[in-house]
């Protein structure tokens, strides 16, 4: 910076033209002093020059805050340009000199009354930018006036100023009633005022997710749609983005809004187009698919999206990232537009990569020939990332469109012949996938692949090649030599390659046992004895034991048929996709991440969802749909009080689009989320469970509510939710028995206690309902436990809100820990409790389900399970029958997992499902179980093995309770 300033200084000396740049030249020492003198000069021109110099120094990053009083002195002027400069200075330094800033207040207030509307607006605009508490107080009156100013230019500026003020002091804005004035401005006669008011309200509403601030209803929507036709391009964006948050009442309203938004698709501003697309994509969800208009709308969407691709490259990039989402959500829109995504030689690399992504998604039998020809071209380009992606894309095409597989493979072979190192490696990686998808079809190419063995230096390619050799060991004559050559540098390989090599050699051994014994021993010893990597060692040991104990079983395990690989890759998980569709055009859609992933604080963390379709045929399409009936009606009342994770979850899943509509089509992922809610909800409601039995029952949860997807790789939205949860753990719908009366009022001088035990988010809780049936007020509550089998003890004092008046009922949740004194009880799960109040001390005993002591990390490794099962003497095994249970094995397994009973393996023998399960108690005792489920037979057999056989009876009871509830 200094440099060019100096250079300019020279220019001045040479008498070049006198322009603003000269102000950048002041670099000498003592300049502040000089400036001070100039600022206090009598001559207006000199003053102005001086202020310009100050601003220039400020831009360059110099500290000119020392001039504050002098600059402020220049504020009172009728020269608008000078005024603006002084204001600019104030905005920068007011915060660092709040006391001095007060000096400026008078002028601001005066300017807000100026006859010139431009000055009034300038004053109110600038005042809002000065984030000094003391100034904001003075801002209120002028702002109130400006909001009702006769000039629309002042009003539109004042509207934005409310948002500014809200950012500084939200309470003040509410107290002063500015929000209502702002709402009134939505009906303003000037479209620009409307647009700015909408923008300001939307922003304020974001930080109050439940405030209903925008209060969108058909009337206000109508106003917005009218303003939409008249306001500036930017205003149209604000209004469309706001419209996207509205949920129409029915499909008719939805259609009429769509009709009025579609003309925006022809706007020259791409952001207007994308925001219109967002509104349409969202509202389309509500239109019945058989409606003519639905088809028309689909057709209307394609051309504008294509047109976006002729915009400037940066916008193309934003458009392509969005199209990527749209293509995943509604592939039909662009299915005929493949050609426009062909890469141009001069496209910037970020555009090229995105286009390629979309090409793969749009590839189908109809256009595959063209796509392949293109991809082949791309594979000869310069940019390494792009070439790799192109090669990978060829592989994806082969997997996606079966008819093209052969052509793809031959294209890949051509590419391998080019011998370009990274092309060859990438090709080999994708050929491995093709082999997985079409086994025993393209082995003829193996010979060519083997020729390139030496050139592979990337782990992924090496691993892929090794996999191929191992998989087709019987057809490769020198497979042993090939693999042996890798073995030499075994310890220098990456883990990926080591694991693959180990498996490949074992496969080879199983296929050609006679010649390869030495090799397999070598690799096993390398993996088990010389390696520090636990994964590798474990795998080595397993193979070793398998091979030494039961080679037949080994063959079955190692050479088992592999599951099919999916056709589509990198698909965005459906809930996240839905959320992102609601964010079309925004950064979230560019990053493909929910706003919560990159926005700090409360803003934007609110999750958005597509509305439910109004048509009825929809729910039949998704068989997984679960009725959310009982749950979805309760929560809205609860949300406002909870600003935490649970509130968010509720919001996410239950923002009910219509109060009466059919349940939204939920995918299995959403049900996962639903379940989070289940867990969350009852802790939210505290001990209210007893009071509403219907709700309690819904936590017992129908089988489908506990989907296996918890084990599946949960990506995107859901995992973010988990992240948000922090230490909360996995709030699953664990079984909670209904409350029972522990202490009747008769025995306790009018105090009645009923309660139950639950494990929520990894914490054992005692949930009680206390009822005062006495005639007097109770208080001074305390609780104590007797010594018990698992050391249960209260983790905090019993908190009962006082005064506890007669006929009142209170829900109390008492968190427990397991570090108290231990004594074996009979039965094992018996607990003796003492409760004290101002009247007396009362004793009662109750029994807790042992399942609440099952900890979250009770999932045993398979190998350990096998070893432990064998290790525990058979005498410790006990068998039980569970009668009349009509769940299938998967549902049972899911249900049990909710109570931390984890299924480790499943085996099917003669139509009988054997589930192997483990659980761990808080005191570290492991319990192993084998659950036999026979299709059509409602009676389960369960065998339990545990080193402490005493627990078996209680565990069995828990099984029964969980499965039957």
């Amino acid at each position: 910076m200094q440099e060019w300033a100096n250079q300019l200084c020279e220019n001045r000396q040479f008498g070049s033209k006198m322009t603003d740049s000269k102000y950048f030249t002041t670099t000498k020492k003592g300049e502040i002093f000089e400036l001070k003198a100039e600022l206090n000069s009598d001559k207006k021109e000199k003053k102005k020059e001086a202020v310009k110099k100050v601003i220039a120094s400020m831009t360059v990053g110099k500290d000119v805050s020392a001039l504050f009083p002098d600059v402020v002195n220049c504020m009172q002027t009728d020269n608008l340009e000078l005024k603006k400069l002084v204001y600019l200075y104030l905005m920068n330094y007011a915060k660092s000199q709040p006391d001095m800033a007060i000096m400026a207040v008078n002028t601001f207030v005066k300017d807000c009354e100026d006859p010139n509307p431009l000055i009034r607006a300038l004053a109110v605009r600038t005042m809002g930018c000065i984030r000094v508490d003391k100034i904001t107080e003075y801002l209120c009156e002028p702002l109130r006036k400006c909001l009702k100013d006769e000039d629309p230019y002042v009003r539109k500026t004042a509207a934005v100023c409310v948002a500014k003020l809200h950012d500084i002091n939200a309470q003040l804005v509410e107290d002063q009633g500015f929000l209502d004035t702002l709402k009134d401005l939505i009906s303003d006669s000037n479209p620009m005022v409307v647009a700015n008011a909408v923008a300001a309200l939307s922003e304020i509403a974001e930080s109050h997710p439940n405030s209903n601030l925008l209060d969108l209803n058909p009337q206000s929507i109508n106003k917005l749609l009218t303003a939409l036709n008249e306001c500036t391009e930017w205003g149209q964006i604000f209004i469309l983005d706001c419209l996207a948050n509205y949920t129409p009442r029915d499909d008719r309203e939805s259609q009429s809004i769509c009709e009025r938004v579609t003309p925006r698709l022809s706007h020259a501003n791409s952001a207007v187009v994308l925001s219109a697309v967002k509104v349409l994509m969202k509202f389309m969800e509500m239109l019945p698919k058989d409606l003519d208009y639905y088809g028309t709308l689909l057709k209307k969407l394609a051309p504008p999206l294509v047109t976006l691709l002729s915009a400037e490259p940066e916008l193309q990039y934003v458009a392509l990232r969005n199209i990527n989402l749209i293509v995943q959500k509604r592939p039909e829109i662009l299915k005929h537009e493949m050609k426009v995504f062909f890469v141009k030689y001069n496209d910037p690399i970020y555009v090229k990569l995105e286009k390629l992504d979309i090409m793969i998604r749009l590839a189908s039998q109809a256009n595959i020939a063209q796509v392949l020809a293109e991809l082949k071209e791309y594979a000869t380009e310069v940019d390494v990332d792009f070439v790799r992606k192109a090669v990978r894309a060829i592989g994806r095409c082969a997997i996606k469109v079966e008819q093209s597989a052969e052509r793809c493979v031959s294209t890949l072979l051509d590419l391998i012949q080019t011998k370009v190192n990274y092309v060859v490696q990438e090709a080999i990686v994708v050929i491995k996938d093709i082999f997985r998808k079409y086994p025993n079809k393209y082995e003829s190419v193996i010979a060519t692949l083997c020729e390139n063995l030496d050139s592979l230096d990337e782990p992924e390619a090496r691993a892929a090649m090794i996999w191929i050799v191992g998989e087709y060991a019987e057809r490769i004559d020198n497979a042993d030599e090939l693999l042996e050559s890798f073995l030499e540098g075994f310890h220098d390989e990456s883990t990926q390659v080591q694991l693959q090599l180990l498996t490949a050699i074992v496969k080879l051994f199983l296929k050609k046992p006679t010649e390869t014994q030495e090799l397999v021993q070598q690799v096993l010893s390398l993996a088990t004895q010389d390696s520090d990597n636990p994964d590798l060692r474990d795998r080595g040991y397993i193979y070793w034991r398998l091979l030494s104990t039961d080679p037949v079983a080994a063959k079955e395990v190692v050479l088992a048929e592999k599951p099919l690989i999916s056709e589509e890759t990198d698909l965005i998980e459906p809930t996240l996709l839905e959320e992102l569709i609601c964010h079309i055009g925004t950064l979230a859609s560019v990053y493909h991440k929910p706003p919560s992933a990159f926005v700090e604080g409360s803003r934007g963390v609110q999750h958005k969802r597509l509305p439910a379709r109004a048509g009825s045929g929809e729910s039949a399409e998704s068989p997984d749909t679960v009725s959310t009936g009982g749950v979805s009606e309760a929560p809205p009342a609860v949300i406002p009080s909870q600003g935490d994770l649970l509130g968010d979850l509720l919001n996410l899943d239950l923002t009910p689009p219509t109060t009466t509509g059919p349940p939204p089509p939920t995918s299995s992922m959403q049900m996962g989320a639903m379940d989070l809610l289940g867990g969350g909800l009852d802790s939210l409601l505290g001990g209210d469970i007893g009071g509403s039995p219907a709700m309690g029952a819904s936590f017992g949860a129908p089988p489908a509510v506990m989907p296996g997807s918890f084990n599946a790789p949960v990506s995107g939205g859901l995992s973010d939710l988990f992240d948000l949860g922090g230490g909360v753990g996995m709030p699953m719908g664990a079984y909670v028995p209904p409350k029972t009366v522990w202490l009747p009022a008769m025995k306790a001088k009018g105090l009645e206690i009923s309660g139950t035990f639950a494990r929520r988010s990894g914490v054992v809780q005692m949930e009680m309902t206390l009822t005062n049936k006495a005639m007097s007020v109770m208080g001074d509550f305390a609780i104590q436990f007797n010594r018990n089998s698992f050391g249960l003890a209260p983790a905090g004092p019993l908190q009962v809100l006082t005064p506890f008046t007669p006929n009142q009922s209170i829900e109390v949740t008492l968190p427990l820990n397991t570090v108290g004194p231990v004594m074996k009880m009979e039965p094992l799960n018996n607990l003796q409790v003492a409760v004290k109040n101002n009247i007396d001390v009362f004793y009662f005993s109750c029994q807790y389900p042992i399942s609440m002591l099952f900890v979250e990390d009770g999932k045993m490794e398979r190998q350990v399970f096998l070893a432990t099962w064998k290790d525990i003497p058979n005498d410790n095994e006990s068998q039980f029958q569970i009668k009349d249970c009509h769940l299938n094995s998967d549902a049972a397994s899911n249900k049990l997992q909710g109570s931390n009973i984890f299924t480790i393996a499943k085996r099917t023998v003669d139509g009988q499902d054997m589930l192997y399960q483990s659980m761990k108690l808080t005191n570290g005792i492991w319990i192993l179980a084998e659950l036999k489920v026979q299709a059509g037979n409602p009676n389960y057999t369960i065998s339990l093995k545990c080193r402490a056989p005493e627990v078996a009876q209680s565990v069995f009871q828990s099984y029964e309770a969980v499965l039957k509830n």
């Binding site: 322009t19 230019y153 008249e230 020259a268 030689y345 020809a373 310069v382 964010h583 950064l587």
Partner: protein, 451 residues
């Protein structure tokens, strides 16, 4: 919304910095050059962009960069970087549109966006930034309106009427035009500017072709004229054909073109276009872009390129390229340029061409063949022998496509302007009094033939 806007020179020095929101850069703790920067937050944001984007060695991989939860949007104009910074989930398309608009406005005020111009006008730029972006929300940014009250001279002595006229124009429904414009001669110029894009396989198969066109209008009209623009849009012609079914309609039906999509300047009433497909508007004064459109069907490809590349051994290439013009013989194409890429290891080139001049440009790795003019339905040819240095580079030459530039005096899409009617009820001039000029120019966009 936009939290701040910075303009950098190519070295990464800040020329302009305007912060709209405090949130940017406050918690930005980034390792800069291995040292934890202790500077105040704003500096951090400014530096983060410099270090991570401007000074980044490799190519820019994305126009949006996220550094420490702060998002940076940037566009580059010659050596100048414009960056918008935000911490929120802003409308990304809007931010880029705004940055482009910012460039347009600056260009309209002081010409080319260069370091010198920006420094010379920094006070003006701050004034503009204060006006067109409020708390990060873009406001009216039409140059026509801005120029009425943001001037480099400063505004003095406005009368009250003038002031309220300014504000009503800035906020009004017709923000792009001021009242009371008078011309002695009412005149308008319509330019139909098309760029024709082609990607052709070596065998002459059209892989993709489209025309992106613009209708640019220069209007010098008095008052607040209401205009109506008509072209040979297939949908409109078909509709009329159904109604009138005259011979004329049938004839023009043949010449109508299918427009895939079009976008309009904000002066055009979009709802009217949507319902009646008629284009009506009150035009801005002076030059502006009325509409953009795209067509893909029945495109007249003005030139056909036929390449023939033969590798003779490892050190020689023979290239022959024929171009054929494909339009009316009476028309003349101009500024024809054919660019034939050559391998990186080219040592020498010998060229023979029938027409124009051809030169091997080593710095551009291409043979550039220029022809000043060429009439329709003609053919011309160039042949070249390329000597190569032997290399042990395993990587094959990528064979970039042969590209072509030209200009032709017709619209390759086939678009014809049918009418542009002007109505101004308050003033005493009629449609007939307006002098209208229409011109068609077709240029090459990306016009490539693979070889």
């Amino acid at each position: 919304m936009i939290g701040g806007l910075f303009i950098y020179n190519h070295k990464g020095e800040v020329l302009i910095s305007r912060v709209y929101r405090d949130d940017i850069g406050l918690k930005l703790d980034i390792q800069i050059g291995g040292v934890q920067s202790k500077a105040p937050g704003l500096r951090n944001a400014v530096d983060a962009f410099r270090v991570n984007v401007i000074h980044a060695r490799q190519q820019v991989r994305s126009p949006v960069t996220n550094i420490a939860r702060t998002s940076f949007f940037h566009v580059k104009r010659s050596n100048i970087w414009l960056a918008a910074v935000t911490k929120q989930n802003v409308n990304a398309a809007m931010v880029f549109e705004f940055l482009y608009k910012m460039c347009d406005v600056m260009t309209a005020y002081f010409g080319k966006i260069s370091e010198e111009n920006i420094k010379n006008n920094f006070v003006l730029i701050y004034e503009l930034l204060d006006e067109i972006l409020d708390f990060g929300y873009p406001q009216n940014s039409e140059t026509g309106a801005l120029k009425t009250f943001i001037t480099q001279q400063g505004i003095k002595g406005q009368t009250k009427e003038e002031q309220s006229q300014i504000t009503s124009q800035v906020t009004g429904q017709i923000g792009w035009r001021r009242e009371g414009i008078k011309y002695r001669r009412n005149e308008l110029f319509l330019d139909v500017l098309e760029s024709v894009n082609l990607l052709m396989s070596p065998q002459g198969q059209v892989l993709s072709a489209h025309v992106s066109g613009r209708v640019v209008m220069k209007s010098y009209l008095s008052g607040m004229p209401e205009c109506k623009f008509g072209m040979n849009d297939k949908i409109v012609i078909d509709k009329q054909g159904k109604g009138g079914a005259s011979d004329d309609a049938g004839k023009s039906g043949k010449q109508s073109i299918a427009i895939d999509d079009c976008t309009f300047h904000q002066c055009v009433r979009l709802s009217k276009f949507d319902s009646e497909r008629s284009i009506s508007f009150i035009p801005p004064d002076g030059e502006y872009e009325l509409m953009r459109y795209r067509t893909t069907k029945d495109i007249i490809l003005p030139f056909r390129v036929i390449p023939l590349v033969r590798e003779v051994g490892r050190t020689k290439l023979e290239v022959k390229v024929v171009i054929k013009s494909n339009f009316k013989p009476s028309l003349l194409a101009q500024k024809i340029e054919v660019r034939i890429p050559t391998p990186l290891n080219t040592s020498g080139v010998q060229v023979i061409c029938m027409k124009g001049k051809a030169k091997y440009k080593a710095s551009e790795n291409a043979i550039v063949w220029k022809i000043k003019r060429m009439a329709g339905m003609k053919e011309s040819q160039i042949s070249a022998e390329i000597e190569l240095l032997p290399t042990n580079d395993k990587k094959k030459w990528a064979r970039p496509p042969i590209s072509m530039n030209f200009e032709v005096p017709f619209a390759p899409s086939g678009l014809k302007v049918r009418y542009l009617k002007v109505f101004e009820s308050k003033l005493n001039y009629s449609d007939h009094d307006v002098i209208k000029w229409v011109r068609y120019i077709g240029r090459s966009g990306i016009y490539e033939t693979r070889c």
